[in-house]
């Protein structure tokens, strides 16, 4: 298979306007991935699936990742003049990483038997702009997996044929796989919740049950 840099050039030629970045991976697995802007995610996916030499016809794994807002600290060496002598001083640089939700797709080719090519897309933030284009029209295997991402992360896929909760029950209101999710209290263990336990249970119950 071609290297990621070659594929990147071909994607940019085939899908005008697509912004493709290559994310590094320092672990021994060295599986680097493409980060594609969400506006062109669908077109890039169609290209990867249909391209004659890549033929990534099989999307093995689709999953979500939650990146909450975080302060990243990075140590950098800065040259400073201390008492007339130039010295290297370590400085801690703090950067604020904006929060986002991410969808990751592991693509393989059943015909050519190569892979993986890893495709990622990120939402603008974790609150109101949590939409990404659905890749289910390209690979059916994403159908249940994208439903699962929606269910557990609250990431909405535009163009998904049947976006409903899949593992949690209908009417459940939170997204349990988010990093800041706070688990429910002891109401689950109460066969017939009452008093303050009932109050805690209410937000997690469906609309039908509440009335």
């Amino acid at each position: 298979m071609e290297t990621l840099d070659q594929i990147k050039l071909r994607i940019e030629a085939a899908v005008p306007g697509a912004i493709v970045g290559i994310l590094p991976n320092d672990s021994p697995s060295a599986q680097r991935s493409f980060l594609v802007n969400r506006e062109h995610g669908r077109a890039v996916a169609e290209f990867l699936c249909a391209d004659a030499s890549l033929k990534l016809d099989y999307c093995s794994n689709a999953t979500g990742i939650d990146w909450p807002e975080a302060e990243l600290t990075e140590k950098i060496k800065v040259k400073q003049v201390v008492d007339g002598v130039e010295k290297e001083v370590e400085e801690v640089k703090k950067t604020l990483r904006p929060g986002c939700l991410e969808a990751v797709y592991h693509l393989y080719s059943m015909e050519k038997k190569h892979g993986p090519v890893i495709l990622r897309m990120r939402t603008a933030n974790r609150a109101d702009q949590n939409h990404l284009p659905s890749l289910t029209p390209v690979w059916r295997s994403c159908e249940f997996q994208e439903r699962e991402i929606y269910d557990l992360y609250g990431l909405v896929f535009d163009g998904h044929p049947d976006l409903r909760r899949i593992l949690m029950w209908e009417g459940f209101q939170d997204f349990p796989m988010r990093r800041d999710y706070v688990g429910p209290d002891d109401y689950e263990y109460e066969p017939t919740p009452h008093d303050d336990v009932l109050e805690k249970a209410k937000p997690h119950q469906s609309v039908e049950v509440k009335k």
Partner: protein, 379 residues
């Protein structure tokens, strides 16, 4: 509580259609699984799988514990095949941390994985035939053989089903004395069981008329929907990770990948029979050529295991299909992200496509031929 989907269905019931919620406590659904079916007479018009009854958010729990802490929990995913689950997870972590597995440990992994495949396929056929109404007898024959394999697991790992045997960079303990001879005996007797099974089933007229041409899955749809395992190969796609990825030591063994032609339930049954025969071949070679040696990478450590920041996706050919683990490390003792790619769940994607236009009694055997375990579907 009815799902939103259920309400939606009741609107297009024009008086002649019948909605049936099969499950979650239906004997044919292999666990707590529901099919919301719309029937026109006995024909399936619409079918929506509903699951999540066993959901315990395995992934979230794994993100809150150490890497090794999740190893016993992977046993509970697909409780029929705990050893292959262990292997898939260990493989992903080994990719993430760059551990090398010693040769003897790889041999033990191949042997235990193929034994797992034998008992999984035997029991699946038993369950499938039971779904067709052959109450109990074939299943009990399969369970008789499974007992022998579980005895082997017990003497090796201390547990019959929840084995918790693999470790990052190797295995937990070496083979006990006499285990290889015992395993060779079980493997040598296994083909007789397959012959016996085939004598009763493969040429059985009832089985043929119930399964041939039922639940056909086309090659194109199977690839596009990410179907893996025997179900994919029954549709005629030559894709077996043991051959494609050559993980473990599978490139050292001589075996073939059986392929189906029609993609119907009968092919799925037959593929499993043939795969058992190929597994026996691998086992014979593995048990004959295993050499003594270390069983764990000296670089791996049980305590204070912190892989470098990064990510890895590792996958193996589990008996039910491609089982993958996707891990992201942020350098800490717990995985930042831990994801299981469950073959059972993704193989259910096409359940509706296979069942449309079929009889409701056939929907039962189509589900049986998918081979699901709800512990893995719901996680």
């Amino acid at each position: 509580m009815p799902s939103r989907n259920y309400e939606l269905l009741s609107k297009d019931g024009a008086g002649e259609l019948l909605e049936v919620a099969m499950g979650p406590h239906h004997p044919s659904t292999h666990g707590v699984f529901r099919m919301d079916v719309v029937l026109d007479g006995e024909r399936v018009v619409k079918l929506k799988p509903v699951f999540g009854y066993l959901h315990r958010n395995h992934e979230k729990i794994a993100e809150g514990t150490s890497y090794l802490g999740s190893m016993p929990y992977t046993d509970r995913l697909d409780y029929f095949c705990s050893l292959t689950n262990n292997w898939a997870y260990a493989l992903a972590v080994e990719k993430l941390a760059g551990l090398q597995v010693p040769e003897r440990a790889e041999y033990i992994r191949v042997i235990t994985a193929e034994l797992t495949r034998l008992q999984n396929h035997a029991c699946l056929i038993g369950f499938l035939v039971q779904d067709m109404g052959a109450s109990g007898t074939p299943l009990m024959y399969a369970f008789r053989e499974r007992e022998k394999i579980l005895d082997l697991f017990e003497s090796l790992t201390g547990a019959r089903m929840m084995c918790n045997y693999m470790r990052f960079g190797g295995c937990r303990c070496d083979l006990p004395d006499g285990w290889l001879a015992q395993a060779q005996k079980v493997v040598a007797e296994f083909p007789r069981f397959i012959d016996e099974f085939e004598n009763f089933l493969s040429g059985n007229e009832i089985l043929m008329s119930r399964t041939q041409g039922v639940g056909v899955l086309s090659r194109e749809l199977a690839v596009n929907a990410g179907i893996t395992g025997p179900m994919l190969r029954a549709a005629g796609v030559d894709y077996d990770l043991r051959k494609v990825d050559k993980y473990g030591l599978y490139d050292r063994f001589q075996f073939r990948v059986p392929l189906g032609e029609h993609g119907d339930v009968f092919d799925r049954y037959m593929i499993r029979v043939l795969e058992m025969r190929e597994s026996v071949k691998i086992l014979e070679q593995g048990l004959a050529t295993i050499l003594p040696g270390p069983i764990v990478d000296p670089k791996s450590k049980l305590r204070g295991f912190r892989p470098k920041a990064g990510e890895a996706y590792g996958r193996i050919e589990a008996p039910k299909g491609e089982l993958g683990f996707y891990l992201i490390s942020d350098g800490g003792p717990n995985p930042y992200r831990y994801r299981v790619r469950p073959p059972s769940l993704i193989n259910l994607t096409v359940l509706e496509d296979m069942c449309l236009g079929q009889l409701i009694a056939d929907a039962v055997i189509i589900l049986g031929s998918v081979d699901i375990v709800l512990g893995e579907v719901d996680r």
